[in-house]
């Protein structure tokens, strides 16, 4: 019972986030926005947080619950594979190959790019700090 009571604020915050999304989605549809409502709402909420007009703690529990249970929300579309059985029987192995090879490709490429860029940015930052220190001493 106490667990149910503790869930009330979380549920309220989830409802607030849902209302935020509904509003942005309706707006995006009404004006024919090329940016979907979800991303508009995300940007608007982030702006409110960064400007300090809204405290992140007021929505944190709801947001964390939504992100933690996200898998539950996309199980239903995954069950739709039952509709595509014939397709998977003919293309299943190819699909697995595309996803497997593609994922390895993203992993290797991203890791190498980020490793290089990070070393460059890190050196630049260190040099910047050292220069500022010299200048303040001079």
């Amino acid at each position: 019972m106490s667990r149910a009571i503790r869930f009330v604020p979380t549920l309220f915050q989830v409802c607030l986030l849902a209302a935020f999304w509904l509003g942005a989605d309706a707006l995006a549809r009404a004006v024919g926005s090329p940016v979907p409502g979800g991303v508009l709402a995300l940007a608007a909420l982030l702006a409110l947080l960064l400007l300090g007009w809204l405290d992140a703690n007021r929505l944190r529990r709801g947001a964390e619950w939504l992100m933690a249970e996200m898998l539950l929300f996309f199980i239903p579309p995954v069950v739709a594979v039952v509709q595509f059985q014939a397709l998977f029987r003919s293309e299943g192995l190819k699909l697995l190959a595309v996803i497997g090879l593609g994922t390895l490709c993203v992993m290797a490429g991203t890791a190498l790019v980020v490793d290089r860029v990070f070393r460059w940015e890190h050196r630049r930052r260190i040099r910047g700090i050292a220069r500022r220190r010299r200048e303040s001493l001079a």
Binding site: A41, L46, M67, F73, V79, V82, L95, I99, V106
Partner: protein
């Protein structure tokens, strides 16, 4: 009881069953950290098995279960909180984070497009594959722009996550990279939520970078999808 009334009960039962199987998977995975109990793998496999065995038509299954899918909308908005919390990391290494996001999106969409062509996959599958490396709420939005199917895209996102979970550690061992940021970005960009969970096991910085890369890559893909759709056709 007539057919329509029967189907309404069945649809409600399917919604409850989905929640129950998911809860069961989480409970099992918390007790035994074995990969086949990972909710990402266990819950869909068990539910597909039940739906196939009982012969419930998918539209009946989805009639009420679509409310769960509806929740992906509010979940998109929730990602504003972790971005806000981790803004210090973006401020410290903006170029590195951006490089990870751009590399992840370009390689994710590019590899799917090239491989789908190389294997001569039909357009419906090829279009649904394009957004597979970003988190589901963003992937199902981007797939609309590519002309893919939300169902197929969700499935491919799950398969990508499971694959990343299984191979992530191996790839980390093989690749010569020293920075924690590269390890985190790699997991977040290639296998979204599943990769981010793995990155959290490696360390706090890896987890934060993975989560940022995953979220920003999702947003970026949704924003550029209409442009990319024009090019890739």
């Amino acid at each position: 009881m007539n057919d329509i009334g029967m189907n309404q009960w069945l649809a409600a039962a399917c919604l409850l069953l989905t929640v129950a199987v998911y809860a069961c998977a989480r409970w099992l995975y918390a007790r035994h950290r074995a990969i086949w109990f990972a909710p990402l793998l266990f819950a869909p496999v068990v539910l597909v098995g039940i739906v196939l065995a009982t012969g419930i038509p998918y539209p009946v299954y989805m009639a009420d279960a679509r409310w769960l899918m509806w929740m992906l909308g509010p979940t998109t908005v929730a990602f504003a909180i972790p971005i806000h919390d981790q803004r210090a990391v973006i401020r410290r290494n903006p170029v590195t984070i951006a490089a990870g996001v751009v590399a992840g999106v370009v390689l994710g969409v590019g590899s799917s497009w090239l491989l789908a062509r190389a294997f001569h996959l039909p357009p419906e599958l090829a279009h649904s594959l394009l957004p597979r490396s970003v988190s589901t709420p963003f992937a199902v939005t981007a797939t609309d722009a590519f002309g893919g199917s939300r169902e197929l895209t969700s499935l491919f996102v799950v398969v990508t996550g499971v694959f990343g979970m299984m191979t992530g550690e191996l790839v980390l061992r093989v690749l010569p990279m020293r920075s924690r940021m590269a390890r985190g970005a790699m997991l977040g960009a290639a296998s979204h939520g599943a990769g981010t969970a793995k990155a959290r096991e490696l360390g706090e910085e890896e987890g934060v970078v993975a989560s940022l890369t995953m979220t920003l890559a999702g947003i970026t893909l949704v924003l550029v999808a209409p442009l990319l759709a024009g090019w890739l056709g």
